[in-house]
């Protein structure tokens, strides 16, 4: 067995060798520095993406189904989706009445590109969403302040509005909008509530909408060609399959589909974002791994080269060590420790570089919420392990050659 004293001796020699040739060590480990940089940046980016993804799922609700003409996933054939008839308000109402397993069924309709005015200031491209009173119980209807409207207010087409987070923030950055009168597409509305921030990088639009009673909405924008979506809350994830099945059966009924006919609607759910995310992940991974692999490849060649130089430079030293009783594996170990220390040193520099870049990016783009100013420390651990392995790999051939040197020849070397 290798003595512990021998291990420390090797580490000490490696450290001295690096200190003695600082510039050389830095240049040699540049490939590793860049490789580690890419790995960590990629990990950081994917972590951010995953967080955004989790937030998105929570925003949409893990137990929510959204019946719509349109598909979120993009997996359905776009042309046939486009030909579908919109879901009418009547169909949505009928479906709501028939559902028995769901905790909540809430039809809603949207108008894109709405215009909101307050005291001469206008905010364009806001989504105006007509909803029923129970919408307050969906994740998106979660109130930050104020109240939602009642069923009675809906039936009487009262002009009240609940603002999305971004809209509220745009007009009232430092005070409550409750009780203010705002104009939506020219019509006066009383602000009665604000919903919580729910949006993420993927679902930024969620915060950029306002909610009004669906009857008021239809009075303003009509219903004839306008599609309605149905939000269905299962109550829990365990019930999701059952509720999805009933939703599908009832949706087919209200859409008058014959057996054998394809569904002319899509039951959207948060899981559909997974497709989009996983594709994006794959791209990031592909690019990241490619760049990392390339840098490591260059790095390994650099380290291997410098280790050969190091072995040649220290032929005499190897001879002395062998004469004093160093076994082949001690010499091999010494050079492997040196090459992996060199890589580890590169990894730390790469890591510092990452930390700097991450903080620079996040302070340059403070609004992009998935770029979080955190340095993934677990990646430092992985990076260290990887760099040690890379170092051992790069040092293997030079170290083996050093270990096999004939002591007589090596001692004679000048």
């Amino acid at each position: 067995m290798m003595g512990i004293s021998e291990y420390f001796e090797s580490a000490r020699i490696a450290y001295q060798a690096i200190i003695a040739n600082k510039t050389r060590a830095f240049l040699t480990s540049l490939g590793i520095v860049i490789g580690i940089f890419f790995v960590i940046m990629m990990g950081w980016f994917l972590d951010g993406l995953d967080n955004a993804f989790d937030k998105t799922i929570n925003a949409i609700g893990t137990d929510m189904l959204y019946v719509d003409k349109w598909s979120w996933g993009g997996s359905d054939d776009w042309r046939s989706v486009q030909k579908r008839k919109p879901i009418s308000y009547q169909q949505a109402l009928e479906a709501s009445k028939k559902m028995t397993t769901a905790e909540l069924v809430a039809p809603h309709a949207s108008k894109w590109g709405g215009k909101i005015t307050y005291q001469g200031n206008t905010l364009g491209s806001v989504s105006i969403v007509g909803v029923t009173a129970p919408f307050v119980n969906t994740p998106i209807g979660n109130l930050k302040e104020g109240r939602f409207f009642s069923e009675t207010e809906d039936v009487h087409s009262v002009e009240v509005v609940i603002l999305g987070y971004k809209v509220a923030n745009a007009f009232f950055p430092d005070r409550s909008p409750l009780g203010e009168i705002m104009r939506i597409n020219g019509r006066k509305f009383l602000v009665i509530g604000v919903v919580n921030k729910r949006g993420t990088i993927i679902t930024d639009f969620i915060d950029n909408q306002v909610f009004i009673p669906i009857q008021t909405f239809m009075g303003m924008f009509g219903t004839a060609r306008r599609g309605v979506q149905i939000a269905v809350k299962a109550g829990s994830q365990e019930l999701l399959d059952e509720v999805r099945e009933e939703t599908r059966v009832i949706a087919r009924q209200v859409r008058n589909l014959q057996p054998g006919e394809e569904d002319d609607f899509t039951i959207n759910e948060s899981q559909m974002f997974r497709d989009e995310i996983s594709t994006l992940r794959l791209y990031v991974w592909g690019i990241g791994i490619g760049l990392t692999g390339l840098s490591f490849f260059v790095g390994i060649i650099g380290i291997m080269n410098i280790m050969f130089v190091s072995v040649t430079e220290r032929t005499k030293e190897i001879g002395i060590r062998k004469a004093l009783g160093a076994k082949n594996r001690s010499i091999m170990w010494q050079f492997l420790v040196e090459s992996s220390t060199l890589c580890l040193f590169g990894a730390f520099i790469g890591f510092l570089l990452c930390a700097t870049v991450i903080f620079a990016i996040t302070s340059a783009f403070p609004d992009v919420d998935f770029l979080t100013p955190y340095v993934p420390l677990h990646l430092l651990f992985i990076a260290s392990i990887v760099s040690i392995i890379v170092g051992i790999f790069a040092g293997l051939i030079p170290a083996y050659r050093a270990s096999r040197l004939d002591p007589v020849e090596a001692l004679r070397y000048e």
Binding site: G3, E9, A323, L324, G325, L411
Partner: protein, 235 residues
């Protein structure tokens, strides 16, 4: 078998392949060295003296013959077993000192103990004691390039002593020193011998060899003579 015999070389030969030619560095050598002998191996360059030293020092193995080192057959040992013998039983002193330039005096002397797996505290203690015995206890943190030639060679001798080896094998130990310093080093070898060590000098200088009590002369890969020195030089 006499237990006093440390080195027992029997009909040893060593040949090298130099291209198409076979070089007979040693043809047939037999030699016995006992405990606490003070012996010089002499010969002009090309005599096979260096090959002899490499074999005696277990840096190399013979092509033919047997070599028992304290009754262990060294001739058939592999690299690692030889390294172990060198570590535990042989203390080398070289003409060019062969100290590690980047390491302090103390670290240099500790090195054989590192490979012997001795723990740090004991290692430092023993290295310090060895340096003390050669009179360099106040130079422990100096680097070799901060020492004179004679001091460097004394560090090398301390390094050779630190494992309490069975033999001390010195290859032209005064070859790189001026004559005054050389005399000091030879006095040190004399003291080592008086303290019970077995000393083997390899040299081509009569002046050095006359310190030894027995002189073995090698020529053309054979032992030419093996004589007792009737009046070893004292310094």
């Amino acid at each position: 078998m006499n237990n006093d015999i440390i080195i027992n070389i029997e009909d040893v030969a060593k040949t090298y392949q130099m291209g198409a030619e076979t070089v007979h560095a040693l043809r047939s050598v037999s030699l016995q060295i006992r405990k606490n002998e003070y012996i010089a191996i002499m010969g002009p360059s090309g005599s096979g003296k260096s090959t002899m030293m490499n074999i005696v020092g277990c840096l190399d193995t013979p092509t033919k013959g047997t070599y028992l080192f304290e009754n262990e057959n060294v001739a058939t040992m592999n690299d690692n077993e030889l390294a172990d013998i060198r570590n535990r039983k042989i203390g080398f002193v070289f003409q060019t000192f062969n100290l590690l330039a980047r390491a302090s005096t103390l670290k240099n002397v500790e090195l054989p103990l590192v490979y012997a797996g001795v723990k740090k505290d004991e290692r430092q203690q023993r290295a310090f004691a060895a340096l003390e015995s050669v009179g360099l206890q106040d130079r422990t943190h100096h680097k070799p390039n901060e020492l004179s030639g004679g001091q460097r060679q004394r560090v090398a001798i301390a390094r050779a002593l630190v494992t309490k080896p069975s033999i001390i094998l010195a290859d032209e130990p005064t070859g790189n020193l001026d004559s005054k310093t050389g005399v000091e080093i030879m006095r040190l070898f004399g003291e080592l011998w008086k303290n019970g060590n077995t000393v083997i000098l390899v040299t081509h200088e009569e002046d050095i060899a006359r310190h030894a009590h027995r002189i073995v002369r090698i020529r053309d890969g054979m032992i030419e003579s093996d004589t007792i020195n009737p009046s070893p030089a004292e310094v």
